[in-house]
């Protein structure tokens, strides 16, 4: 089974040289720490920054320089600042190659729900609806089951939808899944996890073709 760092590490293997990438809050943010050697990616922050650098040293903290999670950050070589309209312009026009975000639920048809739990507090969708409606390649990083043990990989989302049919891939502590017409296609098992176990924890249709390798993280 993977911990959150393992999930981030596995997703980092999806990065390609020259990618512009938007990383959501939580596990997705950790992906930045595992960019494979020899490739360069540019992290986009929808509040108006291309080229997010590492967290600042304590004496470098700058109130004007934050990421979309409101954390203080730094810039990198070649960074640029821009306004929110241009930021979502580059997202909407498909310039961001990869978006990684968390989810409460993903359905076997690629629907995602991650912004609202009716009857509880509504924090808002922030930029998630724009990202999922426009990004070419969306990977979801999340736990396979919720705190009550219910599967989050569903036949159909029960929570209010963030976007329709947009998720391409899901990485959980149990495995890696592509969204294909038939449902969740299992590509890799987390270390020590069996296909049977994954099947048990997956409510949506699980497609298992041939031998499923254990992932190398």
């Amino acid at each position: 089974m993977l911990d959150k760092f393992g999930i981030a590490k596995r997703i980092a293997k999806e990065l390609k040289d020259g990618y512009y990438v938007n990383l959501g809050i939580g596990i997705p943010t950790l992906v930045a720490n595992y960019v494979p050697e020899g490739i360069e990616v540019v992290l986009q922050s929808e509040n108006g920054l291309l080229g997010i650098g590492p967290f600042p040293f304590a004496d470098e903290v700058d109130a004007d320089l934050i990421n979309a999670g409101k954390q203080t950050v730094t810039t990198t070589i070649g960074s640029s600042f821009f306004d929110s309209a241009l930021s979502f312009g580059m997202i909407r026009s498909g310039r961001v190659d990869l978006t990684v975000l968390g989810a409460m639920e993903v359905a076997e048809n690629g629907d995602i729900a991650n912004w609202k739990i009716p009857g509880k507090m509504v924090k808002g969708m922030g930029g998630a609806m724009d990202l999922v409606a426009a990004a070419k390649n969306i990977i979801v990083a999340m736990q396979h089951v919720d705190k009550k043990g219910n599967s989050k990989l569903l036949k159909r989302c029960s929570l209010p939808i963030t976007g329709l049919g947009c998720v391409k891939k899901v990485v959980t502590e149990l495995g890696v899944f592509d969204i294909v017409p038939e449902g969740f296609q299992l590509l890799e098992r987390a270390p020590g996890i069996t296909v049977e176990y994954i099947r048990e924890k997956t409510e949506g249709h699980l497609l298992v073709v041939g031998e499923i390798p254990e992932m190398v993280v």
Binding site: D62, D64, I66, R92
Partner: protein, 233 residues
């Protein structure tokens, strides 16, 4: 009179009436018009509709206007940092309209660019689309979203000049340039005010034509929501 200088925040906001719609720049607490928010708390103007990406925190930013019950309605994309906000929302004291962040930015842009409406794919198939017109272009569905109609836009810039030209700094730019273009009356507060002619014309982010009032702000706290650092190794 190209000189748009007013003395201070109190003078800049004094004609904002009960029931007005105001836009406030900033993302989280970054790049927010601190001086004007404080001045609005002092004038006590009520029943405001605030268009702003976020709603501040309990004791800073728009949170101050929520504490004094001056806000009737918030139009935002993300409001999850504010307990008083939550209380007012759940009790029905506060109306909230949540809209996707890109839609919020682009509806401001539309106002500033004289475009009555725009099309965006954000929210198609979600409850955001309820009651909205959907139109297909090249096989993809888009929502028709309208330009904002706001009485005032209140923005914060890094530098500004007496003609109203503005330059923003780093990610404190965010929604400020679009909102500066989208208000019927635009008020800008700046960290550093210079005489017209001192800013490089190639580096101006918001031309003065969009700004009606400008003043030199004071006592900026520039609070940080999440100070996140790394250790020197």
């Amino acid at each position: 009179m190209l000189n748009k200088l007013v003395a201070n925040a109190e003078e800049a906001v004094k004609d904002i009436q009960d029931g007005a719609t105001i836009m406030l720049g900033g993302f989280g607490l970054c790049g927010i018009p601190e001086n004007c928010i404080n001045a609005l708390v002092k004038t006590g103007v009520k029943n405001l509709t605030c268009i702003s990406n976020n709603a501040g925190v309990d004791d800073f930013g728009i949170g101050l206007l929520l504490n004094t019950r001056q806000v009737k309605k918030m139009v935002s994309s993300y409001v999850g940092e504010n307990a008083e906000f939550e209380r007012q929302l759940l009790s029905g004291e506060l109306e909230v309209e949540l809209i996707p962040q890109g839609t919020l930015a682009t509806r401001c842009l539309a106002s500033g660019y004289g475009m009555p409406a725009i099309f965006t794919p954000a929210g198609v198939g979600t409850e955001v689309a309820d009651g909205k017109e959907i139109r297909e272009f090249n096989g993809k569905q888009y929502l028709l979203e309208y330009a904002f109609d706001s009485d005032y836009a209140i923005v914060k810039a890094w530098k500004g000049d007496t003609h109203g030209n503005l330059i923003f700094r780093e990610t404190a730019r965010n929604f400020n340039p679009m909102m500066a273009m989208a208000g019927k009356i635009t008020i800008a507060e700046v960290e550093e005010l210079v005489p017209a002619g001192e800013l490089d014309p190639d580096q101006i982010h918001t031309p003065g034509i969009f700004v009606n009032r400008i003043f030199q702000g004071v006592d900026y706290e520039k609070r940080i929501e999440q100070v996140t650092t790394r250790l020197k190794s």
